[in-house]
Symmetry: C2
Subunit: 173 residues, 2 copies
Amino acid sequence: MKDYGTILVVDDNPAILTAARICLGGVFGKVITLASPESILATMNQERVDVVLLDMNFTLGVNSGQDGLLWLRSIHKRHPDVPVVLVTAYADIKLAVRGLKDGAADFVTKPWDNAELVRTLKDAIDKSKEIVPLEEVEAEHVRRVVEKCHGNISKAAEMLGITRQTLYAKIKK
Amino acid sequence: MKDYGTILVVDDNPAILTAARICLGGVFGKVITLASPESILATMNQERVDVVLLDMNFTLGVNSGQDGLLWLRSIHKRHPDVPVVLVTAYADIKLAVRGLKDGAADFVTKPWDNAELVRTLKDAIDKSKEIVPLEEVEAEHVRRVVEKCHGNISKAAEMLGITRQTLYAKIKK
DNA sequence: CCGATAGTGTATGATTTTTAGACACTCTTG
DNA sequence: CAAGAGTGTCTAAAAATCATACACTATCGG
């Protein structure tokens, strides 16, 4: 059961961290908890982390979530392939949208449902682990660009930076 | 100024549609309004639409947004490259997250700020129009997979479906 | 300590893909 | 109708990719 690796939980509320340890201990091989986000990057450099559960509100009284977004970007910059699930007590829709567009894997609200949280985290990890063959990525991208050019092969080829003949070959395949 | 093409606005409130026509008429070359979502696909087949502004709550009294998500998926299935911006009067964070994960370009809440709405729509269109060269997509994907395999070149090459030597060449480049 | 296993870095020649350039054809539009 | 843009196809040269191979290093269990 404990095959979902290492999770890093960051929250300035010790009670939440304790709850997380108990709730997630049965699912993850290792649960690392941090009360302050300053040491996130240091921790991630020392330890291989599979997923981060990041609280958005660190500065008491300032609940704009800016801090959380900042840390999200820092994590994403250094570790682009580690999924980050955001947590907030305040169901701020703008914050959620910003977070997801900034690269968060998902978004949950406090108080959370344990089963749902675990499912969300598992999904995030599974999705981050899935690897697509190069050929498939290429085919998909070619398809989209041709679509975007509304079937104009010449223009699509130019945008893609390849020859028209090569594009024909790739479409056929 | 009217170079942002055609927008399709779908909302069951006629007042909203009128407001949209006035507000968006100065920005979009053509503003098509629909009071019911049933004819979305038919409309999009006849007319080239550059962006869709889709209300999430059609069934009065049932505000789960399920209808909106359903229509979003229909649009996305037939026209994967037309950005869809979702609208809701109820700041339901779960709905927003679901919508974005289902492929929506962005999410705005009623009542909207006109300037912000226009900016959101423009961003969605600009982003949908940008085309990345094939080489760049390939390089990016290769980088991510090698990262995911924690530097194990052999495994990364296998996952990508290419030879180890070819991967070396691609990394060097 | 040894052998097995897995990974690295590099090389070679055969095979495949991509490219540049060209040709004839079909549209659309002024 | 003439011009411009796009299509579909061909050839030969250039480039990329492949299978295979060899020597080397690192790790791990017996």
